[in-house]
């Protein structure tokens, strides 16, 4: 059982950081929803602190997702093929653009994904900082809670778009190559 280093990092980026962000998002929404119904001052304070650090962990995931995506995987995706290359399978961007039936996966899918993903860390970093610095106001201000909840929802929409196109692009033209990583040597022979 083997995997290439490029596939491995694509997995870490999408299934690790990105998917974990989406999963964590539902938890953040539930926690914010709880804060609409405060059930006691002491519990509020504990919850406020928890929410802040929970959102900070989500912000870390969002930054890790966009940084690995942009500076590690995207350069592999957009590597131009040498002139005269007939088999474009190792050059995902060129491969997609070479066929009219797949070109929109790049011109719409990747073009949207690469930009919309960067809106996520902006939104969630703000939400984390506000939840940590203003956790007492959060318990009392409906406007602040509504705004934070809206930003968490919008960040999930943006992450969902990026995640969907990431998965579809990796099906249409996988980022592959690099060193072989052996996961299991031999099994069931």
């Amino acid at each position: 059982m083997e995997i290439t280093s490029h596939s491995f990092w694509t997995l870490i980026h999408g299934m690790g950081f990105g998917a974990l962000y989406l999963l964590a998002g539902s938890g953040a929404l539930i926690e914010l929803r709880h804060r609409f119904y405060p059930s006691g001052a002491n519990q509020d304070r504990t919850r406020g602190r928890f929410l802040g650090w929970y959102l900070a962990a989500m912000a870390a995931l969002a930054w890790l997702t966009v940084l690995t995506g942009t500076y590690l995987i995207y350069p592999w995706y957009r590597t131009p093929p040498p002139a005269g290359t007939a088999n474009l399978a190792a050059y995902p961007r060129a491969f997609l653009l070479a066929h009219p039936s797949t070109s929109a996966w790049h011109s719409i899918g990747m073009e949207w994904k690469e930009h919309v993903a960067w809106l996520v860390p902006i939104a969630i970093t703000m939400a984390a900082v506000v939840a940590i610095r203003h956790r007492n106001q959060l318990a009392h201000s409906v406007s602040l809670r509504v705004t934070l909840q809206s930003f968490v929802v919008l960040s999930l929409v943006a992450a969902g778009i990026a995640g969907f196109f990431g998965a579809m692009l990796d099906k249409a033209a996988p980022v592959d190559g690099g060193a072989q990583i052996q996961i299991v040597k031999e099994y069931g022979k």
Binding site: Y71, W118, I122, V130, H134, Q137, S141, T147, L154, I161
Partner: protein, 115 residues
């Protein structure tokens, strides 16, 4: 120091909401800057070339770096401006949400191309 902290915990209304408003609005501004730079880069090949801060990454490196710098700059500026003020958080929140939602739409290539 601990007395001041206790005062804030027990009396949240004493803490101005200006810094929260600054963080919220700057997130809207940063997002919208990202969308605007993306649309402008698609309009001009020369601008696209200028945005290529990293050759392997291409113009995306410039678009995202400039947007993040503008976001942080807007945050610092608004925070300094509003740190002792109480503002209408609902209005500022809605402006930021609209800016963010517009950014989601503008980064969608078929919509960005219409501008």
């Amino acid at each position: 120091m601990s007395a001041a902290r206790n005062t804030n915990v027990d009396s949240p209304e004493l803490v101005p909401n200006g810094p929260a408003a600054a963080a919220i609005l700057s997130a809207g501004i940063g997002s919208f800057a990202m969308a605007l730079i993306t649309v402008l880069a698609d309009r001009s090949a020369a601008f696209k070339l200028l945005l290529t801060f990293s050759k392997p990454v291409g113009p995306l490196s410039g678009v995202t770096t400039i947007a993040v710098v503008l976001w942080i700059a807007a945050w610092i500026f608004l925070d300094l401006l509003w740190k002792r003020r109480d503002l209408r958080l609902a209005s500022i929140g809605w402006v930021a949400i609209v800016l963010f939602a517009l950014s989601l739409l503008l980064t969608f290539p078929p919509l960005g191309d219409l501008l």
